[in-house]
Symmetry: C2
């Protein structure tokens, strides 16, 4: 295969490197109003008074909008702003619209001085939320659909709560008898692990510009989103519009990682509908920290039991997610992975969604699974230590294999957990001499693989080039990958294939870019579409050259009759035969659709060597090895890039990142000075070992590669720290405070 499997440059690289890419923030529509949001300063409050006149008197302020104004649009649009109660610090309460950003900011200052809140008792922690007398964060017992979990395409189970409670959802999976299993156990690891709220850390804050056609009423939204069709459906639903009245134009995305699905676009649209002017909402960094949906914090209690011979007998786990003010934490996928990596005869895993007065939790790369994996992989390494066995050998002994049951009883599909562990086992970093203060840690992580139906089109142009049209937003280089897939099939150089991400009015359907599914599902649709176009090309050539189909080949941009070097037609000529006045062939236009229902789980294993300075508590990562089963790496540097980024984010989970609220529910980490994202200086070189166990359905055997590499990072780093120090941290992030001068043991 001349194209796929080789290294290719990203087609969007140059415009991003040079700063020329146009983001939503760069848009200026004539007559556009700028929005600034009045955010609730309290985690739970009643809006006592909101006097808009000082804001309206500010020069350049065009309007002040509250939930009452939105109510004029009907259909529940009023819920896009808070009132009369607020549910978290940062909840949007009102919007000031100005002719300029400055005018809107000035108006917001005036509004802020003239609004009065009555602060109410808030629920700020899981423990507070679980108290019998806790105020209810949410009145309804209704379960809502779960964006984050939908990434993993797992079906919700027994999630409905019976009465209003701060525990909104619950799932539970059992196998065997957990009591028997724990009774048989001779060694038990019992631990409670906690992880922090983590912001997705995208560099481009949330941004949307909405415009309403004055005649048709069609709403157009230019925005940074991962999923235009999902956003269209949600926006239409929240505003009570037919979907064809909503057009989402996906713009260049400046980082998303799960955090850009449905955010302020419906509000921007509602404001444009109210004012009949274009409205731009671009959050400041501080607003983005306050008012968006980070990954949920978690508290996970594990009891892992084994015999002295090192045979696992039982795993009991309870996962509590601090979901903020709306249910929707990824209970199922977290449970399935936590309880599914290893063969354990007796199992009881439950997970609950706990509501608190914080912003609703959202999706972040592999939703729920880094948290679950931190717990189980910490426990596994601790157990190996207690048993005196090698942690990789111990994992290999129990690793689930294809066909083994997952916690919900269904079998694991084909996957490469064993191969990943074997690759780590064989890696030279394993045998590197160990000096004082150094330690080595290992962890694995798996992702079941997202699924969603998709269609793609491949069109020929009369100059011999091709264009792929899809509705899949490129957040990770997938457009480059699509081009390579089509180029391979069509027998042309990648430069001859252009990939167009069309808007919701024009694109064939594709799912949201999340869940590690774009290459697996849309990529396969592209492969089929290219194949369809290829068939059409060969049929035209066969007719025109009067040659049998089986005698034809495509090479170097031409269709040739094998063995007859002169009988050939260029792809440009063939396309032109199909697209001209009086053409006798229909236009070369390939279509491919997929509805893959078989998941292709992706597994990654991380092997980390660290040095811990016990004086300062500083952790230095010395070696980082990732072995990952990617099915087939269509563009290997792109796959490695995914892994590098995920390693950085794993370091964030392990050592740096946390959204922190004070005891009054005020946000302490509202800037990038307070919220510590990993910088290049903390990210070591990463040694990537790609394992290619082809999937059954992905293009050329590819599997999703986005989620898996972020999953094991925190666990592997913490296991290395424990190995270096003898201290076993159970709370993320592990900061110098945890490690400096701590007693051994």
């Amino acid at each position: 295969m001349p194209v796929v499997g080789k290294a290719h440059r990203r087609t969007d690289g140059l415009e991003k490197i040079t700063g020329a890419a146009r983001y939503t923030e760069d848009l200026r529509l004539p007559g556009m109003l700028h929005a600034r949001l009045l955010l609730s300063p309290y985690p739970r409050a009643r809006i006592v008074r909101l006097d808009r006149s000082p804001a309206l008197a500010t020069p350049g302020v065009a309007a002040v909008v509250t939930a009452d104004d939105l109510a004029r649009l009907g259909n529940g649009a009023s819920r896009l702003l808070a009132g009369p109660f607020t549910r978290y610090t940062g909840e949007p309460v009102a919007v000031v619209l100005g002719e300029s950003e400055t005018a809107a900011s000035d108006g917001l200052d005036a509004l802020r001085a003239s609004v009065e809140f009555e602060s109410l008792t808030a629920v700020l922690t899981i423990d507070e939320a679980l108290r019998e007398d806790a105020p209810l964060v949410r009145e309804s017992a209704q379960t809502e659909e779960d964006d984050a979990e939908a990434h993993a395409t797992v079906v919700l189970q027994e999630k409905k709560a019976e009465r209003p409670s701060n525990v909104a959802n619950r799932v539970a999976f059992t196998r065997g008898s957990i009591e028997d299993g724990l009774r048989q156990a001779e060694v038990v690891v019992r631990r409670t692990y906690t992880t922090s709220r983590i912001h997705q850390g995208y560099l481009e804050p949330q941004a949307a510009v909405a415009f309403v056609d004055p005649v048709t009423g069609e709403v157009t939204i230019y925005t940074s989103t991962q999923g235009q069709f999902y956003l269209r459906a949600e926006t239409a639903k929240r505003l009570g519009l037919p979907q064809q009245q909503v057009r989402i134009v996906p713009m260049t995305v400046g980082g998303a990682f799960g955090g850009k699905i449905v955010n302020f676009q419906p509000l921007a649209a509602a404001l444009a509908m109210l004012t009949r002017r274009p409205v731009r909402i671009v959050l400041t960094r501080n607003e983005d920290f306050l008012a968006t949906e980070p990954a949920p914090a978690s508290r996970i209690t594990i009891e892992l039991g084994a015999t002295r011979e090192g045979v696992l007998t039982a795993l009991r786990a309870r996962i509590e997610f601090d979901s903020g003010c709306e249910p929707g934490a990824p209970l199922t996928v977290a449970s399935l992975m936590l309880g599914g990596y290893y063969r354990i005869p007796n199992l009881a895993v439950e997970a609950v969604d706990v509501l608190t007065n914080k912003p609703a939790a959202g999706a972040y790369r592999a939703p729920g699974v880094p948290q679950a994996t931190f717990a189980i992989e910490s426990a596994m390494s601790e157990m190996a230590l207690l048993l005196g066995v090698d942690p990789i050998a111990f994992r290999l002994r129990h690793a689930s294999a294809p066909g083994d049951p997952m916690p919900h009883g269904r079998p694991w599909p084909n996957m490469g957990l064993r191969q990943v562990l074997e690759a780590l086992d064989a890696h030279p970093v394993r045998r590197r001499p160990r000096r004082a203060g150094e330690g080595i840690g290992v962890a694995i992580g798996g992702w079941p693989g997202g699924l969603e139906s998709a269609t793609a089109c491949v069109r020929a142009s009369t100059d011999g080039t091709f264009q792929i049209v899809t509705g899949a937003v490129d957040i990770t280089g997938t457009a480059t990958t699509m081009g390579l897939i089509a180029a391979e099939i069509l027998g042309v150089e990648p430069g001859k294939v252009q990939v167009v991400t069309a808007d919701t009015n024009q694109a064939p359907y594709a799912g949201m870019s999340g869940g590690s599914k774009i290459t697996y599902t849309v990529g396969e649709a592209v492969r089929r579409a290219a194949d369809d176009a290829r068939r059409q090309i060969l049929a035209i050539a066969s007719d025109h050259l009067e040659a049998r189909l089986e005698d034809l080949e495509i090479a170097e941009g031409r269709v040739r009759v094998k063995g007859s070097p002169t009988a050939a037609l260029s792809l440009a000529e063939i396309a032109a035969l199909s697209m001209k006045f009086g053409a006798k062939y229909p236009p070369v236009f390939g279509q491919g659709s997929t509805a893959i229902t078989r998941q292709a789980p992706g597994f990654a294993g991380h092997l980390v060597r660290v040095r811990v300075d016990r004086e300062t508590g500083a952790v230095t990562i010395l070696d980082y090895v990732v072995a990952q089963d990617v099915g087939f790496a269509i563009n290997p540097p792109e796959v490695e890039g995914q892994i590098h980024g995920a390693v950085a984010q794993g370091i964030g989970w392990a050592l740096l990142e946390q959204v922190v609220y004070d005891e009054y529910g005020g946000l302490l980490t509202g800037t990038l000075a307070d919220y510590a994202l990993p910088r290049p200086s903390v990210v070591p070189p990463v040694d990537v070992v790609l394992i290619e166990l082809p999937s059954d359905e992905g293009p050329f055997g590819a599997k999703g590669v986005g989620e898996p590499p972020v999953i094991p990072g925190a666990a592997a780093i913490v296991n290395a720290i424990a190995d270096a120090t003898g201290v076993r941290p159970t709370s993320l992030p592990v900061t110098a405070r945890h490690l400096a001068l701590a007693p051994r043991g």
Copy 2:
């Protein structure tokens, strides 16, 4: 059929009536430069001196661009401006780019004062062009491709000239022996008919805004065009770019009629490439009259012979088109229609393209055929008068029928010429009592029907609506028609179907909107795409409802099991089953392609009653009847609208319109005060008789309806004038000057 064949409103009506439609002229891109063109004041001249410094010194002028500057782009871009010689009055010589239109205009004034031309002897008429010693308008003997004629999808024949000459192209068709035929004739009509240059009369002047992506170099052109893909290919060719570097975004078109195919878009793109800023070219009305491509003037000599018994024996015709400075007049289609309407055993038709120092002639609704029809239909009525027979009966006696040979020897496809004449014959206006000064005239006209391959897509949305995506620009209400076709097939109300005209990056291929082919070819592609979507919908319903396909029906937005009112799925539910996380069905996405090679000629017959005031020469149209075979009227008011507009334009051909140059080649009709477009006051109520002889390949039997109704107008009106006055005008337009106080004879 609940939808098609009924009256429906145009979906674009409201935005056009309210003035809210956004045209190219309304676009303002950040940093955009405004272009004003320096046009040649002479029909043939040498540019002696062009001093750009005064223009550049004008405040707000950013650049002055000449052909030499364009030469920097290579690839013949320099040909987009004249130099060192000009070929017609109005030819663009230089461009002044300003930060505002005013600045550009001021700069143009300065430039105009500092440029010097040497006027050269020009060729201004057909006679001057044909003189042995005439200057050559064009040095090359090369024949170029012929946009206008391509409308009719006829193949060019023996067009190549042997040496450079002002006769650029020639076609000739013969049958039998023209000498024998004329010898057998006992009555011969010998006449020379002339028609004027006619501007297409669109209300929106030519407009293009071009933008070059600073990183990728991709050129985006927002423009009023009839054919985005054709324009893309031509722009790419003229600028030496790959097609995927050119993106045409078709904007709302404010009238086109053949005049908006490739105009100033390549120049706008070249200017944007040179300046790296967006460039807007919007012509003034005067510039549009000076510098665009109107319908060619013609001179047609006919000898039509018959026996005294009224049997036609011979037709000799020579058609000369005054094509301006580039070849490309519609020789073939004019010849085929002129010589093809009637069964005449001996035939000799030739047509030539004569070059003069005028703007190149372009396409205008039914290119070439109103001219040819004016000649043959005048001659037919004069012959009927000489023979003393009824003009309709005479035509019916000789009317070609399906299977009869056309001048090129190929048979007429199915068509309704006879039925059209019979409808006129039966019409009560025929028998209306005739007063002094009144006359009645008849004429027929036919159009072979354009052909071009096309693809269309029909996508479902999860709320039960559908979107059609095509690349066909709507200039006549075709988008509304597409929606009706799909709604009929899909069993939904038309409001549930939205039609999207996508740009060249996103649309499936469709041909240029011209040649009466969009409904016939793209409409059929839409029908097939809707059918494909319908099949997918039924397959999902069958699987989901566990019902046999043949037991299912679609009605009222639902798929039902016949006879089981409860077993049903809404189209929204079916769409949602195909587009969601983990969907087991691929997205409902229908595709349809056509490559129809069978033409469906459209025939129209016009019956006109006029009164001529011999004192003033004023012509009043009293009755206007149009009988037209439209195959099937998908949206009858739209079809009638096409006919109403064409009747108005026919009145323009007959009585009003002419582009006039003075003896020095200066344009006398450069404003709408000088160029007389028909106003509502001159257009009578039109009685439309729709005849529906279904085509074999069009959707629901539809045929092209755009071109035919403009064809017979001038001939029918002139025949009525001749009947009223006894004067036979042979030169269009027939103005009061021709008729006032003219002697009978």
